[in-house]
């Protein structure tokens, strides 16, 4: 993947999209393959032959990959700003003031500056997910990983999150997004991967994969989407 690229991963439920994404930062332990982000290389180690040093490299890798979860996973005992600065301060050893300045910048970007001292439970789903994005950004990662970031949201709240993500894509962030939002993929992605049974069945620009799929599995998946979409 090139810096600045936005890649969307489509595929039906159970096709392995989450598993793939989570293998990239080793939340899931892959049985094979190598992940390289910004010069940090970690290989699969299914038989646990490598020791502590690998764990340290995984942490290095994770610093370079911000992740946004379907279920937000904000820290409920911390306020919005504390959620954002927790890792910069306690992982990177950054000065708290300095971290807060960075966090405030990103909270402004996701449009939640005035919620800085609120606790997550007092926020709507869309706001929570935007905080989660700001939290990931405050770590200043090289790549952002999104796992169905709008699937747990009320339909009326999906738009505000997608807008933030589209802005990020347009300003040249490197992003990998697992999503069922075809319009977003069409508009924001440089490339689209269609995943089926743990494999990439089709790859290409959105105009090709979404508008004129070649692979029969992609065709079938998308046709179902069309019929569903047109009913709405």
């Amino acid at each position: 993947m090139w810096p600045g690229e936005t890649v969307c991963i489509l595929g039906r439920s159970g096709s392995g999209k989450s598993t793939f994404l989570r293998s990239l930062n080793f939340l899931e332990d892959p049985t094979d393959g190598v992940v390289e982000i910004d010069g940090v290389v970690v290989a699969a180690d299914p038989f646990h032959k490598e020791g502590k040093e690998r764990q340290a490299r995984i942490q290095e890798l994770r610093l370079r990959a911000g992740m946004v979860f379907q279920e937000f996973n904000l820290f409920p005992h911390l306020s919005v700003i504390e959620n954002c600065v927790e890792a910069p301060v306690h992982v990177k050893g950054m000065d708290r003031k300095e971290a807060e300045v960075i966090a405030e910048k990103y909270l402004a970007k996701v449009g939640l500056s005035e919620k800085r001292d609120e606790y997550p439970s007092r926020l709507s789903g869309g706001q929570r997910q935007r905080v989660a994005i700001a939290r990931a950004l405050t770590m200043q990662p090289k790549v952002l990983l999104f796992d169905e970031p709008t699937s747990a949201l009320d339909p009326t709240l999906v738009g505000e999150v997608l807008k933030v993500m589209a802005d990020l894509a347009h300003e040249g962030r490197t992003m990998i997004v697992v999503t069922h939002e075809m319009d977003f993929a069409h508009e924001a992605a440089d490339r689209v991967y269609y995943m089926d049974q743990g494999e990439f069945a089709e790859v290409g620009p959105p105009e090709q994969v979404i508008d004129a799929p070649k692979d029969p599995r992609t065709k079938e998946f998308l046709s179902r989407f069309r019929t569903l979409g047109s009913k709405k």
Partner: protein, 270 residues
């Protein structure tokens, strides 16, 4: 139409409130009758012994300090052991896990009174002679620590996996994730349980009367037996425990309410 509906809703609400207050009244009346009956029984049996009671009560009351000191020390020891034990039970290290689960199994699987007697009567056999108060603290602390280990473990496990994953994805080591993210959330779940156990400990500390610790029950028995008046002294002891548990339960309810109020402002799922 609309007006009627509102009037009806008000009438229903008023009726519900009336019924609730009537229930409260009967509930209190029930308590009042039972307390009067108990007081009557106490007075009938103690009435004639008023100067004995005047002599015995201060002596028994002094035991409160021992009871409180033993209970507070034991719950502190138990909390410490439970924290270590829970970490052990959750450890990926098989040996550490074995030690922790052995501790829990053994101390939960044998009677507390037997454990207490071991500290007091059996340890001297191998040359370890301890003051009764240390026997009581050691036995109660280790026994409660075993039960509380499981409570702490459940509290830690009740923190959703997503929290740990989010922490890991942010680059936190498992140690940092535990200290900064998991432990503070588990703490809110565990605190009420510690309070419950403290109240239970107040009463279980009475077992230490069997190892000659001069707490409330020991005093009630000794001063009562001399004059064959244990009925009086045990009733006094019972009243003291009852007052203590009511006092600490109210105190604990308050802490719990405050924690819950804090949660309402702060928490729900992330």
């Amino acid at each position: 139409m609309e007006h009627d509906a509102r009037a009806l809703a008000q009438a229903v609400a008023a009726d519900e409130a009336r019924r609730a207050s009537r229930w409260q009244l009967r509930f209190r009346l029930g308590w009042g009758v039972l307390i009067a009956l108990l007081a009557g029984f106490v007075l009938v049996s103690l009435n004639v012994e008023i100067d004995f009671i005047a002599r015995a009560t201060p002596f028994i009351l002094e035991g409160i300090w021992i009871t409180l000191i033993v209970s507070a020390s034991s719950i502190t020891l138990a909390t410490f052991l439970a924290a270590v034990g829970a970490l052990g039970r959750l450890s990926s290290n098989a040996i550490v896990n074995a030690v922790a689960s052995f501790y829990v199994s053994f101390f939960r699987g044998t009677p507390l009174i037997l454990q207490l007697l071991v500290w007091y009567l059996a340890l001297p056999q191998v040359g370890i002679i301890l003051d009764p108060i240390f026997c009581a603290i050691g036995a109660l602390g280790m026994n409660y620590g075993a039960y509380m280990t499981e409570i702490f473990r459940a509290g830690i496990q009740a923190v959703p996996l997503g929290q740990r994953e989010a922490a890991a994805a942010l680059g936190m080591s498992s140690r940092t994730a535990f200290l900064r993210i998991v432990a503070p959330q588990a703490f809110r779940i565990i605190v009420p349980a510690i309070g419950n156990d403290f109240v239970a400990m107040l009463k279980d500390s009475a077992l230490a009367s069997t190892v000659a610790l001069q707490e409330i029950v020991w005093r009630a028995r000794n001063v009562g037996q001399k004059e064959f008046k244990t009925l009086q002294t045990f009733i006094i002891a019972a009243m003291i425990y009852w007052a203590l548990t009511i006092l600490f339960s109210t105190f604990q309810n308050r802490i719990e309410k405050r924690l819950a109020a804090g949660d309402r402002n702060k928490e729900s799922k992330g």
